[in-house]
Amino acid sequence: MMSAPASEPLRRFLQVARGAGLRVSAAEGIDAARAVDLIGYADRTILKDTLGLLLAKTPDEKAAYEEVFDLYFKRDEFAGGNADDREESEPNEASSPSNGEGGDGMGGQGGQSLGSLLSADDRATLATAMEQAAREAGIENIRFFTQKNLYARRILDRMGLRALERDMEAMRQTGTPEGLGRAEFLEGKVDQLRDAVRDFVERNLILYAKGETEKFREELLKSARLSNLERRDLDRMRILVRQMAKKLAARYAKTRRRRLRGQLDTRRTLRRNMGWGGIPFITVWKQKRIEKPRVMVLCDVSGSVAAMAQFLLMFMYSINEALSDIRSFAFAGSLIEVSDILEKEPVEQAITKIMSLIGFGSSNYGNSFADFEDGWMKHVTNKTTVIILGDARGNRTDPRTDVIGRLSQRSKRIIWLNPEYRSAWGTGDSDMYRYAPFCNLVTVCSTLRHLERAISDILEDAA
């Protein structure tokens, strides 16, 4: 009972579940096998509840699990219970995809030909034959919709379509009305079969490839340039940004707490335990004073970087939880503080509001920095990290590097995130190289992944 081997249907289901985005570890797979041993496959409701307890561990996973369970167990492949003895033929068949000659075999169907199956209209046996042929064709390796026809063809071949087509040809050759009629009859049946197989492959594609496709898309989005994103990706992107911010927030909160514990504070421990003659029953630990991270973010929201700015604002909105003291500013022609808006409004509204207040204009860096100096320079201390996001293109206005110079003297450091490629810096109206000497770090930040890395570094040092 301790480690029952996962039976074939369960093993395949686990694979499907992983494909659907459930994270099923090996240990959980073993538990699932033990559980199935205990309850069997007979009662689907119990099976569903049980595997749900073991495999799906978040609300999202529960939803994905229910979907995939229904999809997978809708097929009646356990009816015969002989799934295991067919398995041995699978690996070698699957490893030779160009197996064009294998078309004659009908697998283990007791020599019944496809033709007689079709004319007998024996749906159950046909379905089983299809399942088996699919398994032999390695359907579980299907990943992309472009492979649909390939797999459908392979399955049909394995079910013996070629032999049948030869037979039909022979019938037509006889020229008798009987033979022609029979060929026509089979022709119709074969068309139905083709549709059924195509349907079947489609379902399997959803089953096996969904998670894969999702993952692929997300990876793509993470490294796509933020300014190039298409509208339909925005929603998915928002979710990604939120996830990323949450991850950073969690990681950051942890470091901060961990640093609270230091070494034993001998002096205070002794004093605390005076009552027991100095025997240290109660220990007092040294505590590291954690510097409150102070971050000021200046975000360019002018037309040229608007797409990028949206994501940064979103990111800042999400990261607010982790940082206790963050002030955000947005600027284009001039500069305003937006901390309040980000704090009080839901994220979508906040961003729309900021963009409508100040966004999309042409940027004037000098003017905006001057605004900052007038209003908020006095709040900058030697513990403040200033993050500036922008392309440093001030439309040939005075860059006011003197303000940035004073800012760099007052602040702990200045970090400049530029969405442009390094090669574009300094070209045209870009003042990047004029600002760079005053910044502690100037870096390209054009994808979500860059953004994550940059913010992560900032948080690391802020603690």
């Binding site: 509840d49 049980t50 307890l53 969690a250």
Partner: protein, 343 residues
């Protein structure tokens, strides 16, 4: 926080009959154990006054047979804590409860040395030390002699077991409830892993203590933070949501005996309608039960708008929610009456 609990929040609740002598057949896990099938679990829980749905009974059954802890998640007041209590009272096992909070550490959860006792004993035995060391010529010999006595002061006699250790030491097994695990620190979560997967703990001075009988472990969480993957992997994951109207009626019926069937229908319908609204905190099952009790005390049989308005603060705990629901009170009450078949 699971609202409306009637039990005191002490860390251990001994049920009255747990100390009585027990029938051998009660001991787990024997063939005729009360956990022999999922139906038996469902029946047993209902005997203990807990109306479980199929998923819950399956979880308890699996927890016992796979010997895995259950992580119960769900909104506050759907009976997560109550489930543990009911399991304990049904199986006649002691319920050992550990409430988690930020800063909870192993000295409060697992064990502590009885410092006071150790100190006292050292003082008392001070005089005896001469007879032990006695004629030792130098420090090395004296130390050797002392070593021969072993770690007397770090033995079971000086160990103060806290909930986790206690649940391992129960001779007949126990039900261990680790309440609101999401309130504890991440470090504590990691510390729990050993006890959750192997039912044993390691005490440096003594060694590894294994469970006499593996306890049934339930962890509850309100999802105030995401739990670690390592913890989730070791647990069965049970999500208890709000019950549907039929189940809720059954639950209230069992908790408030003698309630009028038509009143019950109205109450349930009303509560379910509130849950469909966009509220800060929707009424939990335990709050509906409280409300039903009040309605019983007031000898109500038909819901009236004024009465509902006066007692709404039992169901809703935020001023803004009461205000929002107050505006639609007439409609809600009317619908509730309709559902119960009262014109």
């Amino acid at each position: 926080m699971a609202a409306g609990l009637t039990f005191p929040a002490s860390d251990a609740i001994r049920l009255p009959n747990s100390s009585l002598e027990f029938d051998v057949n009660d001991a787990l896990p024997l063939g005729e154990s009360p956990l022999r099938s999922i139906d038996a679990v469902e029946y047993g829980l209902s005997e203990a006054g807990y109306i479980a749905n199929r998923q819950i009974s399956t979880a308890i059954y699996m927890a016992h047979h796979l010997q895995k802890p259950i992580l119960v998640e769900g909104p506050a007041g759907v009976g997560k804590t109550e489930l543990a209590k009911s399991v304990a009272s049904w199986l006649k096992l002691p319920l050992i409860r550990m409430q988690c909070y930020e800063g909870l550490d192993e000295s409060k959860a697992l064990y502590e040395w009885k410092y006071g006792k150790q100190l006292l004993y050292t003082q008392i035995l001070k005089d005896k030390i001469n007879s032990v060391i006695g004629d030792a010529d130098d420090l090395a010999t004296a130390l050797d002699k002392l070593h021969a006595f072993g770690d007397v002061f770090f033995s079971h006699q000086f160990l103060e077991p806290r909930p986790l250790l206690r649940s391992l030491q129960e001779p007949r097994g126990s039900v261990l409830l680790i309440d609101e695990i999401d309130k504890s620190d991440q470090e504590f979560e990691a510390f729990l892993l050993e006890i959750l997967s192997d039912y044993q703990v390691t005490i440096p001075e003594i060694g590894t203590v294994s469970a006499l009988v593996p306890p049934i472990v339930l962890l509850t969480s309100n999802a105030t933070r995401d739990l670690g993957d390592a913890l989730k992997r070791r647990c069965l994951h049970l999500h208890i949501g709000f019950p549907d109207d039929k189940l809720e009626a059954k639950i209230i019926g069992s908790r408030v005996p003698g309630i009028d069937a038509r009143l019950l229908k109205q109450l349930v319908s009303f509560a379910q309608q509130l849950r469909a609204m966009d509220l800060k905190k929707v009424p939990s099952v335990s709050e509906t039960i409280d409300w039903a009790r009040i309605m019983m005390l007031l000898h109500t049989s038909v819901l009236e708008v004024d009465l509902v308005r006066d007692t709404l603060n039992v169901l809703l705990k935020f001023e803004a929610d009461i205000e929002a629901a107050g505006k639609q009170l007439a409609g809600l009450t009317h619908k509730a009456r309709q559902d119960a078949g009262i014109a």
